[in-house]
Amino acid sequence: MRASRLLALYPQNWRRRYGEEIAYMLREKRLSVSLVVDLVRGASDAHLHPELAGPLLAAAGGGTIQVPLGGGSMTKLRRLHAVLGLLCLAFVALIVVANTVLHTAPGGLGYFKRGDVAAMLGLATVLAVVLFWASAGDTDRHRAIGSIASGTMAGLLLGTVSIPVLAVPLSVIGCFRLPDSRAARAALLLLVPLGAVVGVALPNLGRSLIAP
């Protein structure tokens, strides 16, 4: 595999601004662990700070008109939604692994039941999609739905006693640290507990509907 293929990990505006230069540096490079780590770290940084490479631009019509999207920068709240979306995907992977590799191994965890698995897999997948959608926009609707999904995710984690350690920092970050305005903090203080109730209720509902 050519090292320059890892450029695909960078966001579009970074590739447009610096892609040619980075590709030039990678032109005869052999793929190594240190190079992969460096590029993955650089790509993560680029996704967290897309504004450093200039505005996000999308070609329109014949490619001659360029339209800025989302003001060219990612707000802290949108970044939080993107990170939570990734955590949801990690949660899906955890559930799958816990119910395949670990569950069938001698002395395996055997924690999840069928109803729990179906409900949590479905909810985590939906949450991931909603959170990624929320992170892609900067309207009031994106912020509100993203906040509800964040709270629901916190509730899902709270309801899953195996990893409660994640729920507390997420709730604290979501309520106090990231939104800039007092109104947004107040809204989150209401939305996160509301979402938490939904998150705790849904797996139980799923269990009662699906489990024998």
């Binding site: 610096y18 040619e20 980075i22 540096m25 460096d38 590029l39 450093l52």
Partner: protein
């Protein structure tokens, strides 16, 4: 343009460009020669993007794989301030080591 705290990578890039305009690959080679440290492309362009965003360096051409960068006047001032601070830290460290 904004004041920024200069990272170790950014400082090395500023030092490299103090000699004159260079493109990314030349900056990487120069830094390796001066400090023995090889910056990967991910780290290098992350620091370059921050320095451009802060107005400390600027590109001389619009496009191309060998786009040169040069130090700006605010970049020169920032570099001088960082080097002064480092000089003070170095002198203090040496003095304290000597009294051990």
């Amino acid at each position: 343009m904004a004041d920024m705290k200069v990272s170790a990578e950014a400082l090395l890039i500023l030092v490299s460009l103090a000699e004159g305009p260079k493109h990314g690959y030349a900056i990487q080679q120069d830094i390796e020669g001066v400090s023995g440290r090889r910056l990967g492309p991910g780290s290098l362009y992350g620091a370059i993007a921050r320095l451009v965003s802060a107005g400390y360096i600027e590109s001389l051409a619009d496009e191309g794989p060998r786009r040169p960068y040069r130090l700006t006047a605010p970049g020169s001032r920032a570099l001088a301030a960082e080097l002064d601070a480092l000089k003070k830290v170095t002198a203090t460290g040496k003095r304290r080591l000597a009294t051990r």
